[in-house]
Symmetry: C2
Subunit: 620 residues, 2 copies
């Protein structure tokens, strides 16, 4: 039997409505994602390894192990970048044949494991020079690094069967468990400064069945709000430590920490079903989506504290919207989807993937955005690496595990959450069903699902929230499909049976709540699951001068192939200017010069000549 | 003969086209400024004195003098707040009879002078505990404080004749002159971190005729760009020390420092006439007004470094636009006006006074803005005082000296720069001419100038830049008047002769250069010399939801008397909203609900219930 690698293994989670498909169950063969995934394997992962070596991130482990001379170099949480890269290589192993990467993987695992102390402690920053300082400052990411190590170890174990990293992870987890926990158990009841270990501990529980890890995850979530952090640089809210998690009804503070924490709490809920936990999670999600999320799905309004802003505080040029925060949102929504089967989570997951995460990666696969502003003067460009390099390997691991987000099962049904041309085989999840998907989604409106292994089961296919007028045709009968639901088609499927979904994809204008003051008088443009923008390179007049006619006739065109097959939009607009380039001038009724606007998918911006860009376009 | 107190005494400046009127030459009796000036005397100055005592700003001098126990308290430049307050009290003495303030003034002068060291050095921060540190860090405002002391001393001398402070100022200036200057003279060639002393030294030269002070001012301007600051927290550009001043062709860095420096350089040019200096000043002014100035006249786009931004970087909610920067702009434009007689400087001075400076002061006269954003959610409110309290006494001294900005003379002409009901008598400036002005400007469009002492001279009356269709009527003959010029009327004036100026004041819409991306699709509203805004307290719907119909019929009304007589504007607008308060929703053609917008003068905002405000209103 081939190995079945689950990314987030809710197969046995008592409160998960859905069970995951293993990575091997989904083959992606489309023109959007397949090239991106191939680039991930061929360009992104090798180049990230080179960066990790060049910046001495891996050497730090060898130095901690004493196998190489020298002191620790870099930021105190640099281990985590290596772990995330390693996790990416782990998942990648399930979907591609890259022996080179597997060799490096094993070498890096050996370097890491050699740095582990005999008591299980593992962190290259706190091992040699600073070994006396370990576990003294919980804003220095020791738990965070541990969490990423657990995730990497699990990925390698699930895809290759190799236990070296997993055993080391369990040793570290055992060390943490022995040290931290309720004071009533004689342990240290500390709050971790950067959540991440929570979801990793739940997954470690899932892979090992060690109840202690789940209990520890619950402790980590539950200890918050008791002022047990200490040594902190920011206020309690920044760390989501200003109140108990179950009383936290909005998303606050550092965006990535908030969303990793919410994802971890959701993982916990999938195991425990605790209503109070779920009520807090639901309130947080509601607050995020109704008050504090960018139209791109990005999260984080402030550079200061990399923070989520107040309600409706969503400035565009200064948006922080860290790539990692969008990834964390995908992770959170995925867990909520597995728990509930509610299409709204799949919808936001897909939207955030296309419009919140993918802008963070160049088409070339080797340059990254840390921040993803929705408006820029052309000075914001991707970098090959960062001193704080959390985002690059985070994108890499998401792309490597992408197949696992395509579909789920329950005992009766195959759920398809997002559409990518390719094959879905649910056998590895225990449902004897398989289909093939033919589509040019997200560019084209038609998705054709062909049964490749039949039987009595239900096909549940998601209808996106934006797909007004969607239809589903099966057995020659066409019916309307309600947006933001799953259409459920139960029958005795025969091989070759076909289901055709049509999701109308005319360009649409989006307005923001009027309290988002900076978006007033402006619209964003979307088509299907993609957000669009105007980028200087495509326009005849300065982006800053452009306005859009909301009654425009739309024209669609194929964009430059260098950016991958994609659809451009053309709209009627106007360019405004002032006489003699004056800074201020009397407003004129005839200020607009008609122009043809060209809109490109937002995730593709900044892949060509540097220039201004805006998502929110002033109305003419 | 009554004393004649000049504020900026260019009477004998060889390169000044205009000569100033003494404060006593102008009597303001209008409904806009007269109440503000009375409040300054009765509320602002006494309450600021109380703040200076409560915060131990004045005690610091007594402690430095050894007449009171205790250490220095507060910020290292707190002396300057006392000096600015003292300067205000000085000028106030010329325009009002406030014996109480005069008594305090003399007491404070005595405290200050007692703190002066025998070598002339005067700075309460560097006298006792830190006497060894004096003149070691030129980012600690010793020169800046000295400059403000010089200005205060000059004000007191010019208005009261008392020499105590002036003599102390000269001792300090002599000490500086003996210590700092070209290395070739055996002196220390340092760059001062916070310009201000330059203009004060030129004025000290004007009042004492000591050439050394002018030479020292020239040195202070000329040393910049030679990397002689040291100890700096920011980069050279922040301090305008990245290049020689004469090569500086844009306005950069810390806004107040930049504009005080430009004002000082202009003072220098008024004395020296140096073309290279004037060329740099002209380029800076051009850059400011064409690229880097808010529509309010405010300057400073960034909170970080209290800095002027890049070209077209003029965000509204995060505008810094420090009240002091607007005051510095008024000071700079006044000096340029005296040098050139060019109406554009008077125009910007007046505009900045109404719309850049006055928002910084509450109608009550005892609360202040440090920052003046052009858009706010209602959380930005005035404070009674600040830890860094530069703005409050700066507003106070400007109001006390306001009369001096109304008019100037040359050998043949009386120049009227701005219109306030009252009397102008040029006798103290050597021109045998006097007029009386009757007007409700800035609210009403008509200005009536009646000759009260005749003779053969030219009346030069400014026509504001916005006054398209302006007319001037004299001797029953009406003619058109060109905006942004002075109409020149030369004749043998008889007492009772009348000149009537009419400046059309219909509300007008202003657009910004399209490169100011945040103002695209928005307009600002002005009427006469006043910028307007919409404030929540006056609206039926949330400010964030409001849009303005650019083709509106305007209605004017009288606003609530508690804010002083003023004109409100009503316009047709729309309120947009999203269904069910969604964060994002499909744009609808019919999204606007018609509403009646109420606009209030921007300088009056935040004097009533807290609420959102915006100057730039989205177009419907």
């Amino acid at each position: 039997m081939t190995r079945q690698s689950f990314v987030v293994d809710t197969s046995a989670s008592p409160h998960a409505l859905l069970r995951p498909l293993p990575l091997q169950g989904v083959t992606i063969r489309d023109r959007f994602w397949a090239p991106r995934i191939a680039t991930n394997t061929q360009v992104t992962l090798p180049s990230q390894y080179a960066h990790c070596e060049e910046t001495e991130r891996i050497a730090n482990f060898r130095r901690a192990a004493g196998t190489e001379a020298g002191d620790f170099v870099g930021l105190f949480f640099n281990d985590s970048d290596v772990y995330k890269w390693l996790e990416a290589v782990g998942w990648n192993d399930a979907i591609s044949d890259s022996p080179g990467l597997s060799i490096i993987r094993d070498k890096v695992v050996a370097d890491i494991v050699a740095a582990q102390r005999t008591d299980g402690y593992l962190n290259s920053y706190f091992t040699k020079e600073r070994s006396d300082d370990r576990w003294t400052n919980f804003d220095l990411h020791e738990m965070y690094c541990a969490g990423h190590f657990f995730q990497a170890a699990i990925a390698i174990y699930r895809t290759s069967g190799a236990r070296t990293a997993l055993d080391a992870a369990c040793k570290m987890a055992d060390h943490i468990d022995a040290t931290f926990g309720p004071a009533s158990d004689g342990k240290r009841p500390i709050t971790d400064g950067h959540p991440e270990v929570e979801l990793a501990l739940v997954e470690l529980y899932r892979v090992t069945k060690e109840q202690r890890y789940l209990t520890l995850a619950d402790f980590m979530v539950s200890v918050r709000g008791a002022n047990q952090l200490g040594n902190q640089k920011f206020d309690n809210l920044y760390y989501q430590d200003h109140k108990p998690y179950r009383d936290l009804h909005d998303v606050v503070g550092h965006a990535v920490r908030m969303l990793y924490l919410a994802a971890g709490a959701t993982d916990l809920w999938l195991e425990t079903g605790e209503p109070a936990l779920k009520a807090a999670i639901d309130a947080q999600w509601q607050n995020l989506t109704q008050k504090r999320m960018y139209v791109s799905g990005g999260v984080g309004s402030r550079w200061h504290g990399e923070a989520i802003g107040d309600d409706y505080e969503l400035p565009n040029p200064t948006a922080y919207t860290e790539t990692c925060a969008a990834i964390a949102s995908v992770m959170w929504n995925w867990r909520l989807l597995q728990g509930t089967g509610d299409a709204k989570y799949a919808d936001l997951m897909e939207w955030t993937l296309y419009n919140g995460v993918m802008p963070g990666l160049s088409v070339s696969g080797n340059e990254y955005f840390y921040q993803n502003p929705l408006e820029n003067d052309g000075t914001h460009r991707r970098s090959a690496w960062f001193g704080c390099a959390c985002c690059p390997p985070n994108v890499a691991r998401l792309l490597a595990q992408l197949g696992s987000y395509v579909a789920s099962v329950d005992s009766q049904s195959l759920w398809i959450h997002t559409y990518m041309q390719g094959d879905i085989d649910a056998a590895g999840s225990g449902l004897d069903a398989a289909v093939s998907v033919t589509t040019e989604y997200p560019w084209d409106n038609t998705v054709r699902i062909t049964v490749t292994r039949g039987g009595q089961w239900t096909l549940r296919a998601r209808v996106p929230s934006w797909a007004s007028g969607a239809t589903v045709t099966v057995g020659g009968v066409r019916q309307n499909a309600e947006p933001n639901t799953y259409v459920a088609l139960r029958r005795a499927w025969q091989v070759g049976d076909e289901v055709v979904l049509v999701f109308p994809m005319q360009p649409r204008l989006i307005m923001a709540h009027p309290s988002v003051i900076n978006n007033n008088g402006r619209v964003a443009v979307a088509r299907g699951p993609l957000l669009y923008c105007i980028e200087q390179v495509d326009q005849s007049m300065p982006v800053a001068s452009l306005r859009i006619d909301p009654r425009t006739q739309w024209a669609e065109a194929t964009g430059p192939v260098a950016l991958g097959a994609h659809t451009l939009l053309h709209a009627k607009g106007y360019s405004t200017s002032t006489p003699e380039d004056a800074l201020y001038a009397p407003w004129r009724h005839d200020a607009g010069q008609p122009v043809r606007l060209t809109l490109v998918p937002y995730h593709l911006w900044a892949n060509r000549a540097a220039g201004a860009m805006t998502v929110w376009i002033p109305l003419a």
